[in-house]
């Protein structure tokens, strides 16, 4: 029995019917085929599935697709605008903030909110903000630098 849902994903309106047990991450990956959002665990621990939903970073493995009805969602695929990488995407590239790239979308989406809440975070604040995300490749060192890098860019953008 399908539950009808209507959501906006990366600016596009989507309507569908989902199984009541379908997770939002399954809907995003399997139905919308936006496979940049990853699944790394079954306990809401790794953050690989993080997306922005109604302005908040959420772990899309902990949300039922049905309950996302009416929401506005941004996934990693929707972050770059007109072919321009988002400052965080840029920061991750510049500072080598990714290796295998599996945790990366979740890290970046988490960082989007982190910088939204605190545009000029300290190292400790960045590290704290990442505590819901696992990375096994980078030791977080360059992820911290990448987010710091992006925060300086934000500053340039907002303060000229």
């Amino acid at each position: 029995m399908g539950v009808p849902i209507s959501v906006t994903v990366n600016g596009q309106h989507r309507e569908s019917e989902v199984d009541s047990r379908t997770l939002l991450v399954q809907f995003i990956r399997e139905e919308l085929r936006l496979t940049g959002t990853h699944v790394g665990c079954d306990t809401s621990s790794c953050g690989a599935c993080t997306i922005i939903m109604d302005g908040k970073a959420v772990k899309s493995c902990t949300v039922l697709a049905a309950s996302a009805n009416g929401s506005d969602i941004t996934t990693i695929e929707g972050l770059a605008q007109n072919g321009e990488l988002h400052p965080l995407q840029e920061g991750f590239k510049e500072e080598h903030g990714l290796q295998c790239g599996f945790c990366t979308p979740g890290m970046i989406m988490t960082a989007v909110q982190l910088l939204e809440d605190n545009p000029q975070p300290s190292e400790a604040e960045i590290r704290h903000g990442l505590e819901g995300n696992y990375c096994r490749c980078t030791g977080y060192h360059n992820i911290v630098k990448a987010i710091y890098h992006a925060s300086r860019k934000y500053k340039e953008v907002s303060h000229g």
Binding site: D42, I76, C100, G139, Y140
Partner: protein, 794 residues
């Protein structure tokens, strides 16, 4: 043109990952695809009386259900082990089969009993839950040493004493004598605990049989697709190799856990052949915990003897290595040839002996995990050295300086022959420790530490000077030691008519950045732009052959194969250039993508030469058209990176919590192509090593239940557990490969663990604590302080 070798060129592969366009196995959907869910044992050891699939097959959407009996009836062998280690008496190791699905009894929690295939993943899961298995419980054995007890239950009925093999290396008589006569002997008994690898991408496999072409394709999260193809076709399913294609697309981290050939890979291929549709399996994290091969799990007694002057006289080691329930692909060589052979460390120890027994238990199979054997060897050596320094009241850095092997470059001075079979290629050990001491400002730290102690604060510093054997491996050498495969690498450099270059490499990149580093090498050597080079890997259909990525081998072995092909390109190019310029080849020099007639401004570019090779109108007589060269490179020796890592910690005297204040590392990985990538490899490795020291450990209860089977129960380092890492390096080139590189993928993991533990023990030295079992959780550290305080008081 300035060389781009040694430059921190930004990664070519980043864009797809940053924009969500990576292509991981689970991202792939094929037409008509079905989904598999595997029924796994909840018991560590139990006889299977019967398996009832009737309810499962009745579930809406279930396409097929297969059990161990189906696999046995189809006469499918198990997944094989790739390395034979013999018993001391010459008998062959015990090699019980590891079937794709078990029919007789389950041997660990997670053992695969049946597979349910359905139209959707949800239906497959529903079906799997309804497969009913009647088990008869058996007593389980979990810890390595317990498996050797006379009354221990047998994991495999035909393997007496649960012993896969016993093994020794080194001169026993000389070592016993050295320890006997030593002025001081430092002893340590410890557990190098079992770790769970946890690449963030869970394993996945898709089998795809196409009836019309009779071809099988396997998409898999593997570090070595060609090896999987070989094992799959020649050993497991008996399929014609040319009809099997294995693709490892983007892979989300491996760390050793994606080396082995897993039952799920063969199972998906076989199932697809049965139902004639693609079948996909993706591990849930809980399955990853239970079935990704685990790492380490050694129980060791070690003794190091010193003379009055602090020189090491001998090292004696006795280890029980727990291999888990079945042999994984490289499990047998990890505790032996990747561990025993590294016990020389950086030191001149004249007598070394290791005695090792490898056992089966009712636990997840163990195989290589980042460092694989070398972390265990380094942990043992470095813990002994720091403890010895404390016992003998010598500075731990001084003790190391006293025992370092003197410098040798492997060119003018020969390599260093160890007591444990290996010959080091080149090394200069003193400078890495000197640099690291400078970086950490050692003297200042000791002053600060003394002052802090006055205030009741517990600061500690820990050292680890390590060596590893990388660039795995010279085939003839490993063959003589029991490897059932060669460990060369292949690379094909295909110059296109327009001068663009495609390079097909057998190395597989799952985070290491090969698409960048290899392209840097090719672009530099051919004098062309990096954008004109494409690195292709991970598909057995496009890449001729390869042995994959592990053992920090990709650049040292795979990069060398690329260099060989480049040499062939340049050799042919010179012939064409000489013809076009109407001079002798010897009159030409090649630089910056141009062949130039020496002493003139007459030249021809790489692109023109390439075009000529494909449009051979005006062309050297007898020369074949085209420009496409394949090479295999078999290394002459392992490579031996080394370094010095120093951890600074503060222990909370109230709670036992360890705060890692600083982590300083000076490594020597030979020449460096891309410093940014090398540093990134070190960062990740260090974090992993710190994880073992402070946080990680697989926990089984007595019945063999894996208690730590989720991220809620198994702790890994998170961002706020770690400091920024402070790195530097020295460069001692590898003398035997064309790039002079040694490998950097595992260094951090190997070195970091003992540095951190040594630092904590140093912090607790006022309490007389000499060892704490890893991981050093607040509880364990706190308890150690209490016990020792009490004992000191008595």
């Amino acid at each position: 043109m300035a060389s781009i070798i040694g430059k921190s060129v930004k990664r070519v592969e980043d864009k797809r990952f940053l924009t969500g366009k990576g292509n991981f196995t689970d991202d792939i959907v094929l037409p008509g695809m079905t989904y598999a869910s595997i029924v796994r044992s909840h018991h560590a050891h139990a006889k299977i009386n019967s398996v009832d699939i009737s309810q499962a097959t009745a579930v809406d959407g279930v396409v097929a259900v297969f059990t161990g009996t189906d696999i046995a009836n189809a006469e499918i062998g198990g997944v094989p082990c790739g390395w034979q280690v013999d018993f001391k008496n010459g008998d062959t190791m015990k090699e019980p089969p590891h079937p794709l699905l078990v029919a007789d009894k389950v041997r660990f929690v997670g053992d695969a009993v049946a597979v349910v295939i359905a139209e959707t993943a949800a239906a497959a899961q529903d079906g799997a839950e309804l497969v009913s298995v009647d088990y008869e419980m058996l007593e389980a054995v979990v810890q390595g040493p317990d498996a050797l007890a006379a009354d221990a239950p047998l994991v495999h009925d035909d393997v007496p004493h649960n012993t896969c093999y016993d093994w020794e290396l080194g001169d026993k008589t000389a070592t016993d004598e050295a320890i006997e006569n030593a002025e001081h002997v430092t002893k340590l008994e410890f557990v190098n605990q079992r770790l769970i690898p946890n690449a963030i991408e869970p394993r996945a496999a898709i089998g795809h049989y196409e009836e019309a072409s009779e071809k099988y394709t396997l998409y898999t999260t593997s570090q070595n697709p060609h090896l999987i193809r070989l094992l799959l076709s020649a050993f497991v399913l008996g399929l014609p190799e040319h009809k099997v294609r294995v693709i490892s697309p983007d892979v989300g981290g491996g760390f050793g856990s994606k080396i082995p050939h897993y039952i799920e890979e063969a199972l998906m291929v076989w199932c697809s052949g049965q139902i004639k549709r693609p079948v996909k399996w993706t591990a849930e994290r809980n399955e990853s915990f239970m079935t990704d091969t685990h790492g380490r799990d050694h129980v060791t007694k070690a003794e190091m003897g010193f003379d009055a002057d602090g020189k090491i006289e001998g090292l004696r080691v006795k280890t029980v290595a727990n291999l888990g329930a079945y042999l994984s692909t490289f499990s047998t060589c990890v505790p032996t040839y990747l561990h025993g052979t590294l016990l020389q460390g950086l030191y001149t120890t004249p007598a070394i002996h290791i005695d090792l027994t490898a056992v089966f238990t009712n636990t997840t199979p163990v195989d290589a995990l980042r460092g694989a054997g070398r972390p265990e060897a380094t942990y043992l050596l470095e813990r002994l050295l720091d403890n010895a320094a404390r016992e003998m009241n010598v500075d731990p850095a001084e003790l190391r300086f006293k025992n370092f092997i003197p410098p040798f470059d492997g060119v003018d001075q020969p390599g260093y022959q160890t007591q444990v079979a290996l010959q080091y290629d080149s090394g200069n050990y003193q400078p890495v420790l000197e640099k690291a001491l400078d970086m950490v400002d050692y003297q200042e730290f000791r002053t600060r530490q003394a002052e802090a102690r006055e205030e009741g604060r517990l600061l500690g510093i820990g050292f680890s000077t390590y060596i590893e054997a990388c660039g795995i491996a010279p085939s003839a050498v490993v063959g003589s030691l029991g490897a059932r495969a060669g460990l060369y690498e292949s690379a094909q450099v295909r110059v296109q008519p327009t001068g663009k270059v495609s390079v097909y490499v057998g190395s597989h990149s799952h985070g290491q950045g090969h698409e960048t580093t290899f392209a840097q090498v090719v672009a530099d050597k051919l004098g062309i732009a990096m954008e004109d080079v494409e690195i292709v890997h991970g598909d057995s259909e496009s890449v001729a052959f390869g042995m994959g990525t592990y053992g920090s081998r990709s650049l040292a072995v795979g990069g060398s194969a690329i260099m060989k092909s480049i040499d062939k390109v340049l050799e042919k190019g010179a012939k064409i250039a000489a013809h076009k310029l109407e001079v002798a080849e010897t009159d030409l020099e090649f630089a910056n993508g141009q062949w130039t007639v020496k002493g003139s401004d007459q030249s021809i570019g790489f692109g023109d030469v390439a075009l000529t090779a494909y449009v051979p109108h005006d062309y050297p007589e007898g020369l074949e058209p085209g420009m496409d060269f394949s090479s295999f490179y078999d290394p002459a020796n392992f490579t031996y990176p080394f370094g010095a890592h120093i951890a600074v910690v503060e222990v909370d005297p109230e709670t036992g919590k360890v705060k890692l204040e600083r982590f300083v590392a000076c490594d020597d990985v030979g020449n460096v192509i891309n410093p940014m990538i090398v540093d990134g490899q070190l960062h990740g490795g260090i974090a992993h090593g710190i994880g073992q020291a402070l946080y990680e450990g697989a926990i089984y209860d007595e019945s063999g239940q894996l208690v730590s089977a989720s991220f809620m129960d198994y702790t890994m380092p998170r961002a706020d557990d770690l400091p920024m890492f402070e790195l530097d390096r020295t460069v001692t080139p590898c003398p035997h490969n064309p790039l002079g590189v040694k490998g950097a993928g595992e260094a951090g993991t190997i070195a970091a663990t003992p540095a951190v533990v040594n630092a904590v023990i140093d912090a607790l030295s006022p309490f007389g604590v000499s060892d704490i079992t890893m991981p050093l959780t607040p509880e364990r550290v706190w308890k150690a302080m209490q016990t020792q305080t009490k004992e000191a008081a008595i």
